[in-house]
């Protein structure tokens, strides 16, 4: 799938999480997403960026504009080199958290995306990939 545009942003602080939201919004607007789809991917990005910061000890996100035939999409890849997730099935359940959040970050981001993939290795880190199509 051809990637039209790539951007990388660090996620180390809660200000960076706001920066990720704004960068995702800008790319979604440029791709012609309607307001509801913009809001969904920005909200999913906010949840995942916060997870990267809080549970992954910081990391980065790659934003990739996709073009597949006539359709356009936005892929976000969140990566950290944190402790990894011991039980993925549990981590994806609504309301489950090892921190003091609401436990909606991963499960909610999955519902707000068209495609969702997670790869986590204990002691190595976690990568979460989401795609939202226009």
């Amino acid at each position: 799938m051809p990637v039209q545009r790539k951007e990388e942003r660090p996620i180390r602080s809660s200000e960076d999480v706001v920066g990720v939201r704004q960068a995702v919004r800008q790319q979604a607007v440029e791709l012609g997403f309607n307001l509801i789809d913009q809001t969904k991917i920005v909200t999913a990005a906010s949840e995942l960026a916060r997870n990267t910061m809080t549970y992954g000890g910081g990391g980065l996100v790659r934003l990739e504009s996709l073009e597949e035939g006539a359709r356009r999409g936005l892929r976000l890849v969140f990566e950290d080199k944190g402790p990894g997730i011991a039980n993925l099935e549990l981590a994806l359940k609504d309301g489950y958290t090892t921190g003091n959040g609401l436990g909606l970050g991963l499960s909610g981001a999955r519902r707000l995306s068209n495609e969702f993939a997670i790869d986590s290795r204990l002691g190595e880190g976690t990568r979460v990939t989401i795609v939202r199509w226009r």
Binding site: R21, I36, T39, T43, S46, E47, L102
Partner: protein
Amino acid sequence: MERIPILKMGEYLLVTIQVDMHDRLAMTLQDDLTSKIVTARSKGVLIDISALEMVDSFIGRMLADIAAMSRILDAETVVVGMQPAVAITLVELGLSLKGVRTALDIERGMALLRSRIDARGREDAGPA
């Protein structure tokens, strides 16, 4: 330090969130509002989020926590002006904002606050 202003108007506190809040700023607002309810002896809090382009689980929880704390401190909270796209996204995210009273705009929000506070006054006075 960066802060979201809280305006006092009679027995009400008014907050208009106009910036994309990072998490610490949201926590500061929650702390400031809770203290101000006590020092200003406020009966109602109106939070206008019409300028917010997204509400994620952190901001959603802040709103729910403010509503819960104000109730304990004998004040009512009403959140007004949520954009439709934000509401749709919140529900899909899995947040229903239980315990948070909402109204479409400031005018309706003020009317709701007044009626809630009046109803409380009557309850306190006991049966006539």
